[in-house]
Symmetry: C2
């Protein structure tokens, strides 16, 4: 049992500054693998068609990656889906963190954001996370959850990504009485009261808890 | 009847290079208003609490904006929701384009992305669009829609943002047989065949069509 981080190919600027310090093993998704290798990381697995790599780049990847799963570009599963499957199944990861999954093309980002909602991943939804420079995303299924503050993140949002029943927030700056909707909605810009956790509950649907912060060094214009 | 563009407060880097050339009037959302005024644009309306503006910045806004709707920061509607309501109702906009709505905090972005799905906006969903440097988002309700190529955008994605019934794609590079799901999913990285439109249809739910492109000047690493 271990933590597995998955590096996908989103823009550099969106990576959290300390991504190289994440605990656990790494899986590289296509070109994301090259980013890992160049950072001196030896991924336990790389998945992709690697079409965009030059011969010498692919050689570099081959020298530093324990196992390479080369797949065609047109297939049923995306590279990232294959990587998450491997992390959960082959490597029995307790915690899977998607890195490089935001910024740039919105279709790529939404494919990553919605991935844990697929029926095949629902049992493991709370094991999957997404991390970038300004955001930390956790996923939860129905139930009652205690949400803890996360150092360095001022804001916390409760976002139902699917229809939801009786979503309630108790003990946060902005509480929410039981609320149901057939559409996704972002209860954004909430905050913790002091350093106290709050409780969020619902009976059907999947919800993302997104911790976020303004940019480090940001002056005013955002 | 006119086009109305709404400038929200997302990071500069995510703005499309030619945003200042968009046809139509402008509404500024909170600090986004300052960006408009500094670009020499005179917004027809500005909405926000303007707490983050200095006295001289707010003075500049007051000098260049026809109407300012100053609202408290904690309220039922977000500033962007108020701006979209005004665009559709007060200004009878045919087309409302959200600009500055991506990048940075994911709770802000998802609040913008999901806005057109709210029951009060559903009748006007096809009038609302979202534009950034790499993406152009259109929204559609149930029915059969002919999707036209958009010059400069290589990729097109079909993304059900709500549960969907019998979603089918005919005439694109990757067709889809009628498919239903209780969760959102991104059918990403599709392409037009030559310069031909394709057809997409479904019977219940809301779908985003996202045109996207790699970054201008992008070399290889994405």
């Amino acid at each position: 049992m271990t933590d597995v981080n998955i590096m996908t190919g989103g823009p550099h600027e969106n990576l959290s500054d300390d991504w190289q310090q994440l605990a656990g093993e790494w899986i590289g998704v296509d070109r994301g693998t090259l980013r890992l290798v160049k950072a001196g990381i030896k991924p336990i697995l790389a998945v992709g068609d690697f079409d965009s790599l030059t011969a010498s780049e692919f050689q570099l990847v081959r020298e530093h990656v324990q196992k390479i799963e080369q797949v065609p570009s047109a297939k049923d599963d995306t590279d990232t889906e294959l990587a998450v499957k491997a992390a959960l199944t082959d490597f029995s990861a307790d915690k899977v963190t998607l890195v490089g999954a935001t910024g740039g093309r919105l279709d790529h980002f939404l494919s990553n954001l919605f991935l844990p909602l697929q029926p095949r991943f629902l049992d493991d939804i709370e094991r999957i996370h997404l991390l970038d420079e300004q955001n930390h995303v956790d996923y939860y299924g129905p139930g009652t959850h205690e949400i803890q503050p996360l150092p360095g993140y001022r804001y916390v949002a409760v976002i139902n990504l699917t229809p939801v029943t009786d979503l309630a927030i108790v003990g946060a700056k902005y509480p929410l009485k039981p609320w149901s909707a057939a559409y996704p909605y972002a209860w954004a810009s909430n905050e913790f009261i002091g350093n106290e956790p709050f409780t969020v509950s619902w009976t059907t649907g999947q919800v993302a808890i997104i911790y976020s912060r303004d940019r480090i060094g940001q002056k005013v214009d955002n």
